[in-house]
Structures are given as structure tokens and as C-alpha cells.
């Protein structure tokens, strides 16, 4: 009796292995998923943030001011990528997302150093990301170099001015990004199963026999979901605004335009998955496969600046990365679409590539 049961168990196990071996996608996922997760969690989740993109407005122009900027860079906490000629220009850079910290050395920098009663310089920080804010605080006590060894100054060198989220509430930080995450998950999944389901149920054999063209089929498939996506955008904004007091500092119209572009991009990604996957289960798996790195690397969970270079390059390929930047910019920093247009183009490019690839992959034939 026992031997029979074991034999049956073995038979089932053998069959499973055979099926699995023939399902190359799942087989690949068995290896790729853990490896990918390990790499992502190991490298990306680095709370020790370095190389924050920084802008400098050196209005003092003295040697000590230059040395201070050099010293700040030497800590590796900041990396100067932009130069501004005025305080408003520095603020604009911060708002557009080009930098996440701004070093402002005022014209009376020297006098402030001599007097020592207030911080000689200012650190403008994008407070919408608490981890960035925490990291930037690490350089506030950076000493100003003086010729003679000076007594420890009574004040910090930098006075921190946290922009956009002065109360530093994490919901304010998380909800806009969460909009992107929710949209990615639902939108990609909706369309990922769309064509596969038709194939599985035999509908496709009928459809490809009709005069309907591939692009028509593709667009027709995503159209209803676009509307659903806009409903989701509305829901998230309402919940964010009324439940979590997430501000809407930019224009609501811009939020919807950005949301629309992102929804369409995500749907197209789903459509592409649908042309690759052979079954609905595979489509689910592939969706998850694209979802995980997007969440981890997009800057939603962990600050973008804290990730290694390679991870940043990869993250630039993901729609979610750009949308998180856009939506935080509009909602939290009051940026206009024009301010964040550098993040819109990658979304549109992704959309075009994914759509073209989907249409190219989908054949109106069975061979």
C-alpha cells in the first residue's frame, strides 16, 4: 500500500517536472526571480544615501565658500551637478527635480562666518523624500575652513530648509508614488491577460479571420482600460487629499495629463506581455516579473540617489521611475508639466516602443 502511494507521488512529481521543463518561461522564472530579488534587495535597498544630486548657488564667490563646496562634495553625500546664479534659480532646479539638495552660499557668507551667530549657508532640501532629508542633515555641521584653528562654531554651517514637506509626514511622500504603483499593477495586469485570454478561449481564431487589423485590435483592447485608469487616478487623488492630506500644489489638469500618459504606457506594457505569454498564468508571472523591479528601483520605495549607478540606469528604463518623479513634482513641489517634461519623453518613448513591439509580435496568422 505504502509503496503504491509513493509510486503515485513519484509519478505526479515526475509529471510536474516534465511540464515545468517544457514551460521554459516558468523554468526561467524559477532561477531569475530569486537572483533578481537578491540583487535588487542587496544593492538597491541602501539607506546609506550618497551622491545626492546637488545644485550650488555660490553668491559669495570667496575662497572659503569654494572650499566649503569642495568639502561638501568630499563627504560624498552630495554631488554637484548643477550651478545656479541666484536663490530662485536654485529653487527652480529643486522644483523640477533636477537636484534634490541645493547649497546656497549667500553674498554675506564671509560676514556670517566671522560673526558666528547664525548659520553662514543654507541647505535647500527636497523634503518630499524623508531619507534624502536625513542624509542631507549629515553635512550641516561641516566646518568652514579657517586659517587659524577656530573654536567650534556656535551654529551649524548649513541651515536646513526642507521644502515641500515641512512636517515630514511619510504619507505625503508615499501616496503620490503609490498612485504610480497602483496604476502599474492594475493596468499592466488588465492588458497582460487580455490577448492571452482570447487565445486560450479560442476567440482569437475567430478574430484573426475577420477583417480587424492588428493595431485596431490593440488599441481597442486598451481603450476601455484607459478610462478605468483615469477613474483610479481620481480615486487615489481623492483618498490622498481627504484621508492623508496629500497636497495638490500643481494643477489638477497636469496630474490628469501625466496620469493619462502613464496609464497608457502601462497598458501598452501589458499588451506586450500579452503577446509574449502563452497562457494567462504566464501573463501573471511576467507581470509580476516587471512589477517587482519597478517598485524597488523607481525611487518609490528607496531614494533614487542611494542606488548604485547601474541600478539607476536600469531604473531609467522603467515607466514607474519617471512617473514617480512627475507626480511628486506636480503634487508636492507644485511643478508644472513643462518643468518635468524631461520625464514625460521617456514615457512616450516607452509607449511607442512597446506598442510597435506588440503589433510586430502579434501576427494575424497562426504560424
Amino acid at each position: 500500500m505504502k509503496a503504491e502511494a509513493l509510486a503515485r507521488i513519484a509519478a505526479i512529481a515526475r509529471k510536474e517536472v516534465r511540464q515545468l521543463r517544457r514551460d521554459r518561461l516558468t523554468f526561467g522564472m524559477i532561477v531569475a526571480l530569486p537572483v533578481m530579488q537578491l540583487l535588487l534587495f542587496g544593492y538597491a535597498i541602501n539607506q546609506d544615501v550618497r551622491h545626492l544630486r546637488a545644485g550650488v548657488a555660490d553668491l559669495a564667490g570667496t575662497q572659503r565658500a569654494r572650499l566649503l563646496v569642495q568639502d561638501a562634495q568630499a563627504t560624498q553625500v552630495v554631488e554637484v551637478v548643477e550651478r545656479a546664479r541666484s536663490a530662485p534659480e536654485l529653487e527652480a532646479l529643486l522644483r523640477s527635480g533636477a537636484i534634490s539638495v541645493g547649497l546656497l552660499l549667500p553674498p554675506d557668507f564671509e560676514r556670517r562666518v566671522e560673526r558666528g551667530d547664525r548659520a553662514p549657508a543654507q541647505l535647500l532640501v527636497d523634503g518630499s523624500d524623508p531619507i534624502v532629508l536625513g542624509a542631507a542633515r549629515g553635512i550641516t555641521q561641516l566646518p568652514v575652513r579657517t586659517r587659524a584653528p577656530a573654536p567650534r562654531p556656535a551654529t551649524d554651517t548649513f541651515e536646513v530648509r526642507a521644502y515641500y514637506n515641512p512636517e515630514r509626514r511619510s504619507q505625503v511622500q508615499i501616496v503620490p508614488g503609490l498612485m504610480g504603483v497602483i496604476l502599474t499593477m492594475t493596468m499592466v495586469l488588465f492588458t497582460a491577460v487580455a490577448i492571452v485570454r482570447e487565445r486560450e478561449r479560442g476567440n482569437l481564431e475567430l478574430l484573426i479571420n475577420t477583417p480587424v487589423r492588428t493595431p485596431e485590435l490593440m488599441v481597442g483592447k486598451i481603450l476601455p482600460y484607459m478610462a478605468i485608469g483615469m477613474v483610479q487616478v481620481t480615486l487615489i487623488i481623492l483618498v490622498g487629499y481627504f484621508l492623508f492630506d496629500v497636497p495638490i500644489r500643481g494643477s489638477l489638469f497636469d496630474v490628469y495629463v501625466a496620469g493619462f500618459v502613464f496609464v497608457t504606457t502601462s497598458l501598452t506594457l501589458g499588451l506586450f506581455i500579452s503577446t509574449v505569454a502563452a497562457t494567462q498564468v504566464q501573463a501573471f508571472q511576467l507581470t509580476f516579473f516587471t512589477f517587482l523591479p519597478q517598485i524597488l528601483l523607481s525611487g518609490f520605495m528607496f531614494p533614487f540617489d542611494g542606488m548604485p549607478r547601474a541600478a539607476q540606469w536600469i531604473a531609467e528604463l522603467f515607466p514607474l521611475t519617471h512617473f514617480v518623479r512627475i507626480i511628486r513634482g506636480i503634487l508636492l513641489r507644485g511643478a508644472a508639466l513643462a518643468d518635468v517634461r524631461a520625464e514625460i519623453w521617456p514615457l512616450l518613448a516607452f509607449l511607442c516602443v512597446a506598442m510597435t513591439a506588440s503589433i510586430a509580435r502579434f501576427r494575424k496568422r497562426l504560424d
Binding site: 478561449r201 479560442g202 476567440n203 482569437l204 481564431e205 475567430l206 478574430l207 484573426i208 479571420n209 475577420t210 477583417p211 480587424v212 494575424k364 496568422r365 497562426l366 504560424d367
Partner: protein, 310 residues
């Protein structure tokens, strides 16, 4: 306009090493029902798919309604209807919604669409247009699928095993509608593995292992069967079967109630005498006579002939 609907020359399709369809020639006249009779895996569906332009032939070519396949496949789509083996309409949609969808896909003007749908609902006795397609019975589904494939009034209709899941009564009604269509000039290509369906076709091709092994009108095929058909009536079935097994050139024995149908290679001289001798040698009491071949006999003869040949 040519009176030939489908013309194929050396149509071949390979899947890897496997030859699914092997150098098929066809000349199917318009306004006729032409049948593909063959067992599963004989290449019926693959041939139909090639003729629709869904699969590219590995070799050979075909002209369907004057369109070169697969080059003019897009132009052909508007002129043909295709009813797949599996129910391929949307189960979540109602009968009317499904027809509406198909009408829209074929871009019929709204008024024409309503007119067509009403006509089809009446013609095919789809008297509950608001029922979900998923909850229809086998026969209703089949009628809906046929109605959907006719929404744009195609000149040529491909039916791939259309009545697999349909009871005999429904099957008969289904065929009545097909003849109605043919009367109006539609050409129908139907694949089946049912003899009674094949018998209704104007002409048919028997497919086996990707090849056409016999072709013609059912009556002609029965008359020209390349085998000797003997009917053996006996009470001793087991004994008779055992005795027949020793007869040289025996292709097949099929039991029909208290009778046996034996197919014997026509090359065997005086098969009837050989069978009588074998039976009496085994002490089996039986009545043996030459019988008129049925289509099933033709099918068995056609599909075993090649295998039996040296």
C-alpha cells in the same frame, strides 16, 4: 467569375519534421457542399487554415474565390466565413451582443446590421437573444456560431467539424440550414469525421495522414470502392471473427449488430469463396454475401489500402 471556388495545387504544410498536409490538389465548385472526411490528425483543420490564409503553406499554393493565398488573405477575409471547431464567440456576451460584435467587426452599417441580426435570429431559431452565449446548449451554440459566421453574407463558408457537440436532431436541422445557404449560392467546405455528415456532401475528399486518399461524390465512391465488401450473418460472432482473421488480404472487420462487414483486398481472387472456406473450416455456421459498400467501408478501404500495400 470562375465557377471554381477553391483551387489548390500541391498544397503542403510541415510542422518541423512532421508533414501535416502533403501535396493536396483541390478543385471545389461554387454553390456546393464539399466535405473533408478524415480521422483526427489527418490534416483537415490545417488545410482549412491554409485556405483561409491563417497558415502559410510550406509548398504549393491555392486560389480561393480568385484570391491568391496567402498573399491576398486580407482581401479574402471579407468574402469568407469561418466556423471554428471550438466555440469561439464570447461566452460572457449574449447572443445578440455576439452577433452585434461580429457585425461591427465586419463594419456593417447600423441599419443593415440590425436587419441581418433579426434575419439570422429568425433563420437559426435563436429565440432567446438576451441569453448569455456561455449558457447555451450545444445545438444553440452551434447555430449561433453559424449565424455569426454568416453575418457578412460570405460567398464561401469554412466549417471545421461543426457538429461535434450536437445531438442528431440538431445536426439534421443544422444541415438543412446549410442546404438553404447553398441554394442561395454559398459554397461550403466542411470537415467532419461523421459518416452521415459526409454522406450529405455533394462531393468529398477522404484525408488520411495529410493526403487525399479518395475523392468524389459519396455514391461514386461507394460504387467504385477498391475493395470487396462481404456481409456475414451469423450467431457465432467470436468464432466468425477468429476464422476471418486467417483470410489472406483481409483489411478490416466491423460488426453491425448480428452482421459483420469484411473488407478484402480486391487483388485476392474470389474472396467470397475464401471467406466461406475459412468459416466452414472453423465450423462456423454463417451466411455470406457480397454487400453494397457504405461510406464507412469506403473510408476504411481508403485509409488502409496504402498501409496494406507493400
Amino acid at each position: 467569375m470562375s465557377d471554381v471556388a477553391i483551387e489548390a495545387h500541391g498544397l503542403t504544410r510541415r510542422f518541423g519534421d512532421h508533414v501535416a498536409v502533403d501535396r493536396i490538389d483541390l478543385a471545389i465548385p461554387r454553390a456546393r457542399i464539399y466535405g473533408f472526411l478524415g480521422p483526427n490528425g489527418s490534416g483537415k483543420t490545417t488545410t482549412i487554415r491554409m485556405l483561409c490564409g491563417l497558415l502559410r503553406p510550406s509548398a504549393g499554393g491555392a486560389r480561393v474565390l480568385g484570391c491568391q493565398i496567402p498573399r491576398d488573405a486580407a482581401a479574402l477575409r471579407r468574402k469568407i466565413g469561418y466556423m471554428t471547431q471550438r466555440f469561439s464567440l464570447y461566452e460572457e456576451l449574449t447572443v445578440r451582443e455576439n452577433l452585434d460584435f461580429m457585425g461591427e467587426i465586419y463594419t456593417l452599417p447600423a441599419a443593415r446590421r440590425r436587419e441581418r441580426i433579426d434575419a439570422l435570429l429568425a433563420d437559426f431559431h435563436l429565440d432567446r437573444p438576451d441569453q448569455r452565449a456561455g449558457t447555451l446548449s450545444g445545438g444553440q451554440r452551434q447555430r449561433l456560431a453559424l449565424a455569426a459566421s454568416l453575418i457578412h453574407e460570405p460567398e464561401l463558408l469554412f466549417l471545421d467539424e461543426p457538429t461535434s457537440a450536437v445531438d442528431p436532431q440538431n445536426r439534421r436541422e443544422f444541415w438543412e440550414s446549410l442546404f438553404g445557404l447553398v441554394d442561395r449560392g454559398t459554397t461550403i467546405l466542411v470537415s467532419t469525421h461523421y459518416m452521415d455528415e459526409a454522406e450529405r456532401c455533394h462531393a468529398l475528399a477522404i484525408l488520411d495522414d495529410g493526403k487525399i486518399v479518395a475523392e468524389g461524390a459519396p455514391r461514386d465512391l461507394e460504387a467504385q470502392i477498391g475493395a470487396v465488401v462481404l456481409e456475414i450473418e451469423t450467431d457465432e460472432m467470436r468464432g466468425a471473427r477468429a476464422a476471418l482473421a486467417s483470410v489472406r488480404g483481409l483489411w478490416s472487420v466491423a460488426q453491425l449488430g448480428t452482421r459483420l462487414h469484411a473488407l478484402i483486398d480486391p487483388a485476392v481472387a474470389d474472396a467470397e469463396a475464401a471467406v466461406r472456406a475459412a468459416l466452414s473450416q472453423s465450423g462456423v455456421n454463417a451466411r455470406v454475401e457480397v454487400a453494397v459498400a457504405s461510406l464507412e467501408d469506403v473510408f476504411v478501404a481508403a485509409t488502409t489500402e496504402r498501409g496494406a500495400a507493400p
